[in-house]
Amino acid sequence: MTRETMDVATEALYERACDCGIETGLDRLEAQQPQCGFGQLGTCCRICYMGPCRIDPFATDGSSRGVCGADANVIVTRNLLREATGGAASHVGHARHVALTLRDAMNGRAPYAIVDRAKLLSVATGLGIAVEGKADTDIAKEVVDKALEDYGRQDGEPANWVAFRTPPKELEMWKELGLVVSNVHNEIEEAMHRTSGGNDADPVNLLLGTLRMGIADGVGLAMATDLQDIMFGTPQVRGIEANVGVLDANKVNLAMHGHNPVLSEKIVEWSIRLDDEARAAGAEGMNVVGVCCTGNELTMRHGVPMAGHNLQSELLLVTGAVDAMAVDVQCIWPGTVKVAECFDTKIITTEANVKIPGAMHIPFEAANADEAAEKIVRTAIEAFVARKGKEVSIPQVKASGLAGFSVEAIVDVLAKVDPDNPLKPVIDNIVAGNIYGVVAFAGCPNPKIRASEMTEIMAKELLANNVLVVTTGCTAHILAQAGLMSPEATEKYAGDGLKAVLTALGGAAGLDGPLPPVWHMGSCVDNSRIVNLLAALAGTLGVKLSQLPVAGSAPELVQEKAVSIGSWLLALGLTVHTAPVLHVLGSPVATKVLTEDLVGITGGRAYVEYDPKKAAAGLLADIATKRAALGI
């Protein structure tokens, strides 16, 4: 990591951390160098107590084996399936939490309501629930039953959300390949069982298991998005701001970090209700800002400012201006507590399964949501009182743009051009080449490659070549901070064809300028929105997803969740770019299947490239091949 090449805000915060003697992830990454080759190649096995075993990467004849006889192919593919299982467990757990909250709300035991009736009806109808003459509450209860059925059914039938949200051609393909997922909890159990000592030793079978785990992950993603939209509203296009400059020294800065809007929505509500208390305490009001994916949830639905991506979660605290950071689940660095200790900042954990020594813990459950949210906001106000008058340092850096591109919002805009067939303008322009293709960016900022501006440069290269970029997760923070979600970015970065399309759509939508060239489609679970959009395009064209001139990219992959999401996209037949490389290079079988053979199975392909320009070129070549096959 060379500090000189980082963005201005990150650079400034890192400098301040160094000046204050505060250790951050960037320092720890440097201290961890060099990192173990066995881990990077995936050839370290710690599954049993005859081990740990490691496979010599120089014994390329396969002679190096673990005590039980497992070779590199077995060890790598078992480890990969376990990574995907960790990711899928996160997403299906998230979705279940939301489903239970909706259940409790409908039974009068949790203070949440149906906010988006249209979404409730469309989801219920999609799940095959008859809605005529029923009360909304009863429909919602039936939706919850369908959701919980996906965690309990033992009949082997496709999970409700698989049947509902999988395009028909892909569902048919999965049936033929034996990949249909019925019960997501069973999948997790099966995966942990088969990768436990002395079970599945067929690397190809294990890789198919990873695809299944991707499909289970997709159930979690789609269910979470659908139920969250019902409870909190389907996002509409709105103006947003991004980067550390959204902190305000004179306000009570309450950063929401984590993933589940069940918590963060309540915090927004209580921040409004307690704004007067904040003012009475000497602040100019409450300032809720979003970090990581719960930040995306809030910005998509309420325009809450996006304070920073995951890598900035520690650095934001270095400003001294964050009064409280309340967190729920996933991507919460233990290091945040150490940074917070240098200031008056309170780190507040809320989930029974995510606690950090040194943090304050305020238990948050749906039933006591109001009490807990009130307490969290008051804690932030108290921390402000302690902080008031002390020196803070907020780099005045922020970018503005548009977010809120749910499929529904996109269709609303497109319907203004062609009310009868809203997708037609997009498809016509894809056929004509004005939109050369679509690339979806998802995942994290990885400190190992953040300094290369991997995400920004890749996106700009693709835009210049008329590829529309859609994004979720922390890559959305990166691209928003780079100004790529603004209408001006269309003028500056989009190729002529894409610029013309976005300008026409912007005009139809009643905007002053074009639509932005990068569409913020939400949080990590909202990768489901991207797949829904692609499914609609493929359905209209009558082709498989694998035939569309589209690709996915986790340009700075970090989490197991990115592995499971990527596995879902591979199962759906998409080309998926990653950097860094998955922990698979130690296995010739895994490497070959993922990068070559899979094309002949699902149509999907894993592609690795660390150089942003080469990666963009690689995806453009992939899109060119798909366009040629379609004869466009």
């Binding site: 080759g37 066995f38 590199a72 080469k614």
Partner: protein, 189 residues
């Protein structure tokens, strides 16, 4: 005299050598004993990043060792039995002249006594015919313990084979790429 040689191509940066070194220099000489010892045992080998490679840096026990010459107290000496350059902790005054003149950064500091700390090539192990702990721990044989002449001889034979292949017109096959080579090429774009 046997030396520890490093094949940088084979180092995976797993740091098994670092752990084995610390354990060998602990009171219990067992991993599970060493992790509970206080003061914690210290390693004398450091795996450092080097471009896309990694390299275990340790004392090379130089024939004409500048650290021995630089030590004002005669604390840095050559062991008459093993030939290793070793520190006499009782004589060492902790001035680190030795560290200043060492070209390899092989001399660090003992956390407990503030005296010079360096590789001693595991004399207890050598006495019973075992290789140094780092060598034994290396899972890829990046570290080897052998005679200088044997190393040179091996390289001479390899060089001769390459010349012979070229002269005979036989295709000179590039050595097949290992997974680690692929990883390095990705990281070193």
């Amino acid at each position: 005299m046997k030396e520890i040689f490093v094949d940088i191509e084979r180092c995976t940066a797993c740091k098994a050598c670092e752990i084995a070194c610390a354990v060998e220099h602990s009171a219990t000489k067992t991993l599970f004993g060493a992790v509970f010892e206080s003061p914690a045992p210290q390693k004398r080998v450091h795996v450092e990043p080097a471009l896309v490679y990694s390299y275990p840096v340790r004392c090379l026990h130089c024939t004409d060792a500048p650290c021995i010459a630089a030590c004002p107290n005669g604390a840095m000496t050559r062991d008459s039995v093993t030939g290793s350059v070793i520190v006499d902790e009782d004589r060492c005054q902790g001035c680190f002249m030795c560290a200043m003149v060492c070209q390899f950064g092989a001399i660090s500091v003992s956390a407990q006594t503030r005296t010079a700390l360096k590789c001693d090539r595991c004399p207890d192990r050598l006495a019973v015919g075992l290789p140094p702990a780092c060598v034994e721990a290396c899972p890829t044989r990046a570290l080897v313990f052998g005679e200088e002449e044997d190393l040179a001889s091996e390289k001479r034979l390899s060089a001769a084979a390459r010349v012979a292949q070229a002269v005979s017109g036989a295709a000179v096959h590039p050595s097949s790429a290992t997974p680690l080579d692929t990883l390095r090429s990705l990281r070193g774009y």
